[in-house]
């Protein structure tokens, strides 16, 4: 049966573990996988700007020996002529074996999956879901910390519109002993449904604060996010909140020696460039891990052994 990935919770914990294991095997033995997707085609439809996610998907497919069909923007696709997502998905099913879609409308990749005859991967739908970023985040945590359980995870910045934050919390809630520290300005607090529908039922604890430095010593993982201009209807609010948290070497003085600093990227100014040389900075490695996780995902959805 055709499988798609729309929400990180579409994957069971066992499937996530299997993807992490597969991605680590691809990292260790790239030659073994170099021709696994010979003759297969990935279509990338990105209706919103993206550098990393699109290139990561395309690099992943090329490294598996497959090919890529790409439409870079909505302006150069039939969407500009008013074609529906459903029709686009049916049409792409005629040309490609798997589709990765980013769309500004929330739920668009689900509509694509309902109409396509090929697997669809949600590569980000507005402020809603971004499951392959979560896959990248999970592989980063596993490779850098060696486990998913018993971690204190600080999430800092825009926790309201930050889709990667919501998905990461949903995924990490399935592992025991995880504590969340939610660091944000009051206006960008984590939506209450994420707490009531994910954190509380899982029995995990969380702490909310506006002060990053006060909680720094207890963190095993610090997940920084950007205040995203495109999620605001009102520019004044964006300008007021955009510089709420800027991570500098000074603020890391009391952090654990084995802390890992993550960021889904792109970074604007929320992490000072001076932090990049700190061995605890993992955000560029995180982008690399994302490619291996997407390779593992493509293999799974195409049912390639």
């Amino acid at each position: 049966m055709k499988r798609s990935l729309i929400d990180i919770l579409d994957l069971s914990v066992e499937e996530l573990d299997e993807l992490v294991t597969k991605a680590q095997d691809i990292m260790a033995n790239p030659a073994k996988y170099a021709h696994k997707c010979d003759g297969k085609k990935l279509a990338t439809m990105f209706y919103e700007p993206s550098t990393r996610t699109r290139l990561s998907f395309e690099a992943a497919m090329y490294e598996l020996g497959g090919n890529v069909l790409s439409v870079a923007s909505a302006a150069s696709s039939s969407a500009a002529k008013g074609e529906s997502v459903a029709d686009t998905a049916k049409m792409i099913s005629c040309y490609a074996d798997i589709l990765a879609m980013r769309h500004p409308k929330e739920g668009a990749p689900l509509v694509a999956a309902m109409n396509a005859t090929i697997p669809v991967v949600n590569a980000g739908d507005g402020g809603h879901n971004h499951p392959t970023q979560t896959l990248a985040d999970l592989l980063t945590i596993h490779c850098e910390k060696g486990r998913f359980d018993n971690l204190t995870i600080g999430l800092c910045g825009d926790l309201k519109f930050g889709r990667t934050v919501h998905s990461l919390i949903a995924a990490m809630c399935r592992y025991p002993g995880v504590k969340f520290v939610l660091i944000s300005p009051t206006e960008l607090k984590l939506p209450s449904y994420v707490k009531t529908e994910h954190i509380k039922p899982s029995g995990h604890t969380y702490e909310q604060t506006t002060d990053l430095e006060s909680v720094m010593p207890e963190l095993d993982v610090l997940y920084m996010t950007r205040v995203q201009k495109e999620r605001f209807f009102n520019e004044e609010d964006y300008l007021r909140l955009k510089d709420s948290y800027i991570l500098t070497p000074d603020k890391l003085k009391n952090a654990k020696k084995d802390l890992i600093i993550m960021h889904p990227l792109p970074r604007v100014n929320e992490i000072s460039v001076a932090v990049d040389n700190d061995p605890r900075a993992c955000y560029f490695k995180q982008a690399l891990y994302g490619k291996f996780m997407r390779e593992a995902l493509i293999l799974k959805l195409l049912e390639v052994e």
Binding site: K105, D125, H128
Partner: protein, 139 residues
């Protein structure tokens, strides 16, 4: 206050007081040609106050819409002036084309002919979320 009894039609009874008008709109009863009575704030031994809707025609009503507005409501089908059938009402697992998603970023606001689907995500609290964007339905 007297409302004529009906010969052939539907009586939706035991609607929580204040929700009758919402149900009237969700069932599109404003589009009917027959007589429709909305009786608000009726004294009820069981509920204190309740709303009742009487429709003087044998129409099909969307049971899911009634369950969404008030799962404790009752539906009585009247034939030849007598109670012919009672329909069970419960909170439906999903709502199709009953309510609309109010999230302007949701695909359902722009995609042609996409059904408006809401899924029951919390039965205890009666929470429905849009199938596409997961926005909570506002009651």
């Amino acid at each position: 206050m007297n409302i004529d009894s009906i010969q052939n039609g539907i009586v939706i009874d035991h609607i929580a007081a204040g929700r009758g008008m919402q149900l009237y709109h969700l069932l599109h009863l404003d589009q009917l040609d027959c007589s429709v009575a909305i009786i608000k704030n009726v004294h009820s031994k069981k509920m204190g106050r309740k709303d009742i809707i009487k429709v003087d025609a044998a129409i099909d009503v969307d049971i899911d819409a009634i369950g969404y507005v008030d799962p404790n409501a009752t539906v009585n089908i009247i034939r030849d002036g007598k109670l012919a059938e009672k329909r069970d009402i419960c909170l439906p697992e999903q709502l199709v084309n009953v309510i609309r998603c109010k999230n302007p970023r949701c695909i359902s606001t722009t995609e042609q002919e996409l059904p408006q689907v809401f899924i029951l995500t919390d039965r205890k609290k009666g929470v429905y979320r849009c199938r596409y964007c997961e926005t909570k339905a506002e009651r």
